[in-house]
């Protein structure tokens, strides 16, 4: 989780990633941020994030992202 927060800070600094729950819906992360984030996550956690997973529900909070990562790792 800490590593994830670091990645997020690196991509777009200045948001309270630990507590924010509307990162996408609140326009904190742009679609280009998401692309960078997906690339980073794929490298870091050795997963493939298909387009269908890129929905607000999976990216609105750090916790949701972690959940998605764990799910994708299992597959």
């Amino acid at each position: 989780m800490e590593r994830l927060i670091e990645i997020l800070e690196d991509i777009r600094p200045g948001t309270d990633y630990e507590n924010c729950t509307d990162l996408v819906d609140g326009h904190f992360l742009s679609s280009l941020d998401i692309i960078a984030l997906v690339a980073e996550l794929e490298d870091e956690y050795d997963i493939t994030v298909p387009a269908v997973e890129i929905v607000p529900a999976n990216f609105n909070s750090a916790a949701a992202m972690m959940k998605m990562i764990e799910r994708l790792q299992e597959e």
Binding site: S30, A51, I54
Partner: protein, 543 residues
């Protein structure tokens, strides 16, 4: 009365939710029958009403809607069958072999999806764009001194095709991705595709958003009725009082643009932007209102776009359902392809975290905005409109780090009110320029209009006489001004996070009814309809 009278004007009578036929005959009759029939029939009645409505606006072209629904229904089942076979097949295999075995089935599914997309988008391309394509081929032929001239094909376009085609495609892809289960009830899918408030101008709904809700069709609740009515009236006010009253002015300026100088053209662009917003968001309010009366929550298509601080934010708040469709079915699928991902990874290593994703993102954005432009209409001016916004969004992203550094250097508080205000104004100006090209009769006309803003600027033009020539008097300006201010204040309060509707709902009956009566009579007295006015069709129905 002669019953054929009712069918006489089919295709022309009821294109708007604000037409008398809809407001005083179709809709009340619809509500009445809906509330009388037993619960289990309500959903079928909604389907019947939707097809009746489509018949009124489109006549025999309803056949296309039926064929479209049928094909989507069958394709969904087909994909589902392959998925079941796949599950059946891999159940017996050891875990490590499953992935490879899956591939075969996934390819088969992809072929079905491809067929479905080809079928629906292909038809849309043929009826909506073949004239444009053939026209351009002819232009090329004439440039190459060829004497061959192709006939420009003419097709009758079913109303709402640009909207329900996207719904159809999203359903097929969602079934393929397993986001929704394929629908085995033809009527439920048919209702999702044809629900009458949204078929003409959207919002473009996803199957997961409305299909199940619609099928639940329950009794009308008193609160939903009054709140829905209130929302409809608010939308009517936007359209009939503001947008329709501005129509002669806008039409006058853009149709005879050569006779006006920069100030009037600028005024025309601003008024057109206001007209388009009030018209489209007004109709969307009506759609949401009608939906609410039936107890449904329709997806919102607007979120006060003129408070946006950047163009990319603007497009997240204007015609939201279209933007979301392009994001989910074009943008991310493009960036998620293997090649694009490789591009992003290598670009990030060379260009860093900010500029790296811009390469693949830019390509995907280009696809999105090309489609967005073309979706609005088959003309170069619309493609230019798409490219204009593509460029702005790309520039915004590219300059973001420099702008941030610049602001930090000068100690500008980017969260302060003055800075935000400046951003909002800048965004609005850029949007207005875009709409100027959007409305102009062709790309070249737009360019010449844009040039005149700078070359023939004279404030003297702005006189009451010019307005009279355009069919607008001082009273019209006054009432448009007042109503725009009303809408602005309501938006401002909503923007601050206070829901006016909820606050109102807590007040006593005198206040609540007072608001409804005020809205109704405001529209009746100050609306631009009847003697001396030409009726204006909803603007997005033509796209």
């Amino acid at each position: 009365m002669d019953p054929t009278f009712l069918l006489a004007g089919c295709g022309k009578d009821m294109t708007s939710f604000f037409s008398m036929t809809f407001l005083f005959l179709f809709f009340p009759a619809c509500l009445l029958v809906y509330s009388i029939v037993p619960k289990s029939w309500k959903k079928y009645f909604l389907l019947f009403a939707s097809y009746l409505f489509y018949w009124f606006v489109s006549g025999t072209l309803v056949v296309y809607l039926i064929l479209s629904t049928l094909s989507v229904f069958l394709l969904g089942i087909w994909i589902d069958r392959i998925q079941m076979q796949m599950k059946e097949h891999i159940k017996e295999l050891p875990k490590e072999e499953r992935k490879i075995a899956k591939q075969k089935f996934i390819h088969r599914q992809q072929r079905v999806v491809f067929l479905g997309v080809l079928l629906h988008i292909g038809f849309l391309l043929v009826v909506k764009y073949s004239g444009f394509f053939v026209g351009n081929i002819n232009l090329l032929l004439s440039l190459s001194k060829s004497t061959v001239v192709l006939d420009i094909p003419q097709f009758a376009m079913p109303i709402g095709i640009s909207f329900f085609t996207l719904q159809a495609v999203s359903y097929i892809i969602d079934v393929y991705h397993g986001l929704v289960k394929c629908d085995r009830s033809f009527f439920r899918l048919a209702l999702f595709m044809s629900f009458f408030p949204q078929i003409v101008e959207g919002p473009i709904c996803r199957y997961s958003q409305t299909a199940e809700q619609l099928w639940q069709a329950g009794p009308i609740k008193y609160n939903d009725l009054t709140l829905g009515l209130q929302r409809m009236l608010y939308g009517m006010m936007k359209k009939i009082v503001i947008a329709d009253r501005l129509n002669p002015l806008v039409t006058g300026i853009f149709d005879k643009s050569n006779s006006y100088g920069g100030v009037i053209i600028l005024l025309g662009a601003v008024c057109y932007t206001i007209q388009l917003y009030m018209d489209f968001s007004g109709v969307m309010d009506a759609v949401a209102g009608i939906g609410q009366i039936f107890g449904l929550t329709m997806p919102e298509n607007f979120e006060r776009p003129f408070f946006s601080r950047s163009i990319s934010e603007f497009w997240k708040r204007w015609h939201i359902s279209l933007g979301a469709w392009f994001r989910d079915y074009i943008f991310y699928p493009v960036t998620s392809t293997k090649r694009m991902k490789q591009l992003t990874s290598s670009a990030r290593k060379k260009l860093g975290n900010h500029f790296g994703p811009l390469v693949a993102g830019g390509i995907a954005l280009f696809c999105v905005w090309f489609c967005n432009g073309l979706w609005h209409g088959a003309a170069w001016s619309f493609i230019f409109f798409g490219m204009y916004h593509f460029t702005l969004i790309l520039l915004e992203s590219m300059t973001a780090p420099a702008a941030a550094a610049f602001n930090a250097r000068l100690h500008i508080n980017t969260d302060g009110k003055p800075y935000r205000f400046m951003q909002i104004i800048r965004t609005t100006i850029l949007v207005v320029i875009g709409e100027l090209f959007f409305r102009a009769n062709g790309f070249m006309a737009g360019l010449s209009l844009f040039r005149r803003i700078f070359t023939s600027l004279s404030i003297n033009e702005l006189s009451l006489q010019t307005f009279h020539k355009l069919g607008i008097d001082g009273h019209d300006i006054l009432i448009v001004g007042i109503t725009v201010i009303i809408v602005f204040i309501v938006s401002l309060i909503n923007e601050k996070g206070i829901s006016i509707r909820e606050t109102l709902a807590k007040k006593n009956i005198v206040v609540r009814w007072g608001v409804l009566y005020a809205l109704i009579f405001y529209i009746i007295i100050f609306g631009a309809y009847g003697f001396g006015y030409l009726p204006v069709d909803p603007m997005y129905a033509q796209f």
